[in-house]
């Protein structure tokens, strides 16, 4: 425990903690819509799409997240647009944009004149390398989510019964764009913490755990955020104590909580 307290004195650990808490809150907040709308593949697709933006940032020598956020938001808008304009299913639209973005990412990286390990820190996450620039971007997304707080009720309504929400003049098409926008932004900023490869789990496990214990959507949202933040804190401590990568430690913490609760409920 002393080692953990000592580590907390270090600036990069403080940045990591701040980033982890913000990302834990955001991913688990938007994750409730991902889980209830059956959009797990969208979370994974957006994270992989972000790879294209990260690679572009590295190629241009700009802060990768600053490029990845708008890049992924454009991809997210494209996915919704394709879905609304065609009869293609959500998974097909995601699949198309996901592959194109990954392909672009690989091309951008091969065009980068110098060898860089940066891309790998984004693929597998590197919370201890979070910069103040990353924190600023995360803070901006956090603020944006606070300002769009009122959309929660409309998103929830359309998630429950889209036809009913439409009959109540809820602008579901516009709200789909807004949700995808917010989800894309939250997904990208989570990449530095858990990595592209694990982000889908970060969006799914805390809400799925909360769903096991709740009877209302508002309770599910709150509990999901509690699990999101708790798992980040525990995951970081475990990571520091056991000297293992932080992203996987967080995801494994979430998985342990999920299975314990699932088994306890099955037994009960």
């Amino acid at each position: 425990m002393t080692a953990v307290l000592d580590a907390l004195q270090l600036a990069f650990v403080q940045r990591a903690l701040l980033a982890g808490l913000m990302v834990g809150l955001l991913a688990s907040y938007y994750g409730v819509f991902v889980v209830q709308r059956g959009l797990s593949f969208l979370g994974s697709g957006l994270a992989h799409s972000a790879f294209g933006g990260v690679a572009l940032g590295i190629l241009l020598g700009i802060q990768p997240l600053a490029v990845a956020v708008p890049f992924t938001i454009i991809v997210a808008m494209g996915i919704v647009w394709l879905q609304q304009r065609t009869r293609l299913g959500a998974d097909t639209s995601v699949g198309i944009f996901f592959s194109v973005s990954m392909a672009l990412g690989v091309i951008f990286l091969t065009m980068t004149p110098r060898y860089t390990t940066d891309a790998f820190t984004y693929l597998f996450g590197s919370i201890l390398y979070v910069t103040w620039g990353d924190i600023a971007i995360m803070g901006f997304v956090m603020l944006m989510s606070i300002f769009t707080w009122k959309a929660w009720g409309r998103w929830a309504y359309a998630t429950f019964d889209r036809e009913l929400a439409l009959s109540d003049t809820v602008a579901c098409r516009r709200d789909d764009y807004l949700l995808s926008f917010a989800l894309a932004a939250s997904t990208v900023i989570s990449i530095k913490v858990v990595g592209i490869a694990l982000i889908a789990a970060f969006l799914v496990i805390p809400p799925a755990t909360a769903r096991l214990l709740t009877r209302t959507f508002s309770a599910m949202t709150i509990l999901s955020m509690v699990f999101g933040v708790f798992s980040v804190l525990v995951g970081m401590v475990v990571s520091l104590q056991a000297d293992i990568p932080t992203g996987p430690a967080i995801i494994l913490t979430q998985a342990v909580i999920f299975f314990v609760i699932a088994l306890a409920r099955r037994g009960g």
Binding site: G153, Y157, D161, D168
Partner: protein, 253 residues
């Protein structure tokens, strides 16, 4: 003379290249009970969506409570969709669903007065005893009553129902019509219901709109549900949904 609550003149809807509804002309007086009938793909749901302004007209005109569809005050129309459209795994209690009828959005928290209002609406719909049961655990009939309570909570002037009896047994159906009739007589509300149930149309409706993309007939059930119209709509007269289609006068409105 009172203004009609719904007034259609040659209303047509085209979805892509598909003509879903053609030249519907009818006027519905306040307090009426309209049964919208016809075979699958006849344009019944499209007609209802057109009333709510959810699909644009490609021709003609519709006014609802004197306004163009979609421009009515939200609380004036209570819509009860087919229950198959909802997500049964969504974590929700009946009271939350009922309160969407008041708020037009999903409630984050519920005030004491909202709780009381929702409880009262559920009592009218006869489902207040299931107030604490998650939506996913309700039977089809109970869920339909929760939707009725959701519609009633805003005391609408028009209640729209899309095949409300789906998944209900005969007793549940009878209870639902009794609740609807009580609400209609108490509030002078107009009921518009899509149904395949000819018997229910004869017993409860004051008007029937028979569609097969175009309008086959509109008027009192006894005048519309006649052999000639049945043949035009369904291509036959006989058994439908396990019951004999009653020809004019068999059941009496």
């Amino acid at each position: 003379m009172t203004d009609p609550v719904v007034d259609c003149h040659d209303a047509s809807v085209t979805l892509g290249e598909f003509q879903a509804l053609r030249d519907v002309t009818m006027a519905l007086d306040p307090g009426s009970f309209l049964a919208v009938m016809g075979p699958n793909g006849a344009g019944k749901s499209t007609f209802m969506k057109a009333l709510m302004g959810l699909v644009p007209l490609s021709g003609g005109s519709i006014t609802v409570l004197g306004n163009r569809p979609g421009e009515h005050v939200r609380r004036e129309i209570g819509y009860i969709p087919q229950i198959k459209t909802l997500d049964r795994n969504f974590p929700a209690l009946p009271m939350e669903l009922v309160l969407t009828g008041l708020r037009g959005t999903w409630p984050w928290r519920i005030t004491a007065s909202e709780r009381e209002t929702a409880h009262e609406a559920m009592k009218i719909a006869g489902v207040d005893h299931r107030i604490g049961v998650p939506i996913g655990k309700l039977s089809g009939g109970e869920l339909q009553r929760v939707y009725l309570a959701r519609a009633f909570v805003r005391e609408p002037k028009i209640v729209l129902l899309d095949e409300p009896a789906t998944g209900m047994d005969r007793r549940g159906e009878a209870d639902m019509y009794s609740v609807l009739d009580k609400y209609r007589s108490k509030h002078g509300a107009t009921v518009i219901m899509i149904t395949h149930d000819w018997e229910a149309a004869h017993h409860h409706a004051t008007q029937v709109l028979l569609l097969d993309r175009g309008m086959i007939g509109y008027g009192a059930p006894g005048d519309v549900l006649v052999e000639d119209n049945m043949r035009r709509a369904f291509g036959h007269v006989g058994h439908h949904h396990s019951m004999t289609i009653p020809i004019s006068g068999d059941c009496g409105a």
